[in-house]
Amino acid sequence: MATRPDLLRPNSVSRNRALRRIGTFVSYAALSLIAMLFLFPFFWMVSNAVRSNTEVLAVPVRILPQEYQWGTFVEALVSLPFGTFLFNSFVVASGVTAIVIAVSCLSAYSFARLKFPGREGLLLAYLGTLMIPQVMLVIPLFLVVSKLGWVNTYHGMIMPVAFGSFGTFLLRQFFLGIPKDLDEAAMIDGASRLRILVTIIVPLAMPAIGLLALFTFMGQWNSFLWPLIVTNGMEKATLPLGLTLFQTQQGTSWNYIMAGAAISMLPGIVLAVVLQRVIYRGVTIGSGFGGR
């Protein structure tokens, strides 16, 4: 052991250690710089939300506002219908999430636990639809919804997007990992399948269900194309839609648009920060579909 070169030449050890320390410092500094550049659009949004609109468009661009007008956030909610947009976004996102969870639990349980003729074929048909581009469905879905008289209604915004098969697969995958013995023991005790699902499987699958709820809610909260097609005007517009409506109709009030953008980003930012561990794990569950 005494022949280890670093023991023979203590000078080079300290030099190596110093070099490594510098390397670590440079690595952190460079990555922090990139991270700051990455965060810059968020800063720019808030920085412009709290200026007057004339200052937003003033020609020598100022990084920080001359005058801070924090009232813009309240004014955007009160004087422009961003409050309505917020409410609509919330109704649609939570409506879709509730349906997705209920429907996916039931169908995932069927695919994971019940034997019935045609199971594999139906599963394959569900899986196949994951590759269909959304924009392809948008035209016929609009026709269905307008035939039903659902244009510009909440159910018109909710129902057509609440039956995707992604949730079924995610939960099925998770249910398969729950021991079958639990079901069988409960059946011997006389529990019905629904009771087993609700009282045994669902509580055990809470991590996966929570993840599905999170991704569904955020997906709907951020969704743009379907609300754009199925609504008209301000009354049922969601937040993302509201932002583009103001871009054309009141294209000059950038400070309000930035305040609206910030309001629409807030839930996502809070959830991403608070649930970062869950998301980190969840993303790897997601990667299990194609890869490992």
Binding site: L31, L39, P41, W44, M45, V56, L57, V59, V61, V103, S104, L106, S107, Y109, S110, L114, F116, P117, L122, A125, T129, M131, I132, P133, V135, M136, L137, V138, I139, P140, L141, M159, V161, A162, F163, T168, R193, W221, F224, L225, P240, T244, Q247, M258, A261, A262, M265, G268, I269, L271, A272, V273, Q276, Y280, V283, T284, G286, S287, F289, R292
Partner: protein
């Protein structure tokens, strides 16, 4: 005794029901909501979309069968189609390449850190959790004439035009924004995969004299190749559908410099009301996605390594 035989008859249905497997009945009941939704909002629309693509329906008129007319018009008459196709492919290739390179670099970088991994992951993930439209609107302000981007270009003396007003640069702005908005997902996914690489593999390679570069290319990269494959397929599928950024920032312009398939379908269908023609475009997109996915699955044998 013959009477008791008759009395046994009512019992039979009960026995038969048990014989027909209660599981099947439960499955039918449990699958009913999902199946109805699937038929009404998936299967039927897909079939309708295919049928529509063979009609020349303009929403007001009654649809009439047009055979392959829409598809023929696409490939032979419509001069805009090849522009749209070229824009879509250029965007997809450039965006996909940059996305994988940037996200892999950031993920390797983050996983090499001892402290603060979570903070960096969250920072790069933040834009993916915010509405694309909201992000696009912020970037629209950045790129507005005489705005931040313009003054930056001017102060650096780069002599570039305003990105969104330039036919050559507008698409680069869309790529940049899409990259910023979506790269975080792959960063987190690659980072997780890298963290799962067993430490003793790396240690063994180090003992055998592999340097950091070799350890990355020979050990970590092959080991995470299934994740890279999955990310590449998913990113390619979404990149061919790009729409939100384009709608919010350029509406396909200037001219048709940023008109992609996704935007063209929306425009033809819901601005020009050419539902049949737009449906044909949508099927072109679907076939491109299918072809690309099949191609990627073919190619995975060459570079994706599955452990055990």
């Amino acid at each position: 005794m013959s009477q008791s035989a008759v009395a046994e008859v009512p019992v039979q249905p009960v026995q038969r029901r048990r014989f027909l497997k209660p599981d099947t009945q439960t499955a039918m009941l449990f699958l009913l909501p999902s199946f109805l939704g699937f038929m009404a909002f998936m299967a039927l629309p897909i079939a309708a979309s295919l049928a529509l693509s063979f009609t020349n329906w303009q929403l007001i008129s009654t649809p009439s069968f047009a055979g392959f007319q829409n598809y023929v018009r696409l490939f032979t008459v419509d001069p805009a189609f090849y522009t749209v196709l070229r824009n879509t492919l250029l965007f997809a290739v450039e965006y996909l390449t940059l996305n994988i390179i940037v996200s892999l670099t950031l993920a390797v970088w983050i996983s090499s850190l001892r402290h603060g991994k979570a903070i960096f992951r969250v920072i790069f993930f933040l834009p993916t959790f915010t509405p694309t439209i909201a992000a696009s609107v912020v970037w629209l302000l950045i790129f507005t004439p005489d705005g931040l981007a313009d003054s930056l270009i001017r102060s650096l003396g780069l002599g570039l035009p305003n990105f969104l007003l330039s036919t050559t640069w507008a698409m680069q702005a869309i790529v940049l924004v899409t990259l910023w908005a979506n790269v975080g997902y792959n960063v987190v996914m690659f980072n997780a995969a890298l963290d799962l690489v067993p430490r003793h593999y790396i240690e063994a390679a180090t003992i055998d004299g592999a340097n950091a570069w070799q350890r990355f290319w020979r050990i970590r990269l092959p080991l995470i190749s299934p994740t890279i494959f999955f990310a590449t397929v998913m990113t390619a599928i979404t990149s061919l559908q790009v729409f939100d950024e384009i709608y919010a920032m350029t509406r396909g312009g200037p001219g048709s410099a940023t008109a992609t398939l996704g935007f063209a379908i929306y425009q033809k269908g819901f601005a020009n009301f050419q539902m049949g023609y737009a449906s044909a475009l949508a099927w072109v997109m679907f076939i491109m996605i299918m072809a690309l996915t099949i191609l990627q699955f073919r190619m995975q044998r060459k570079w994706v390594h599955y452990g055990d």
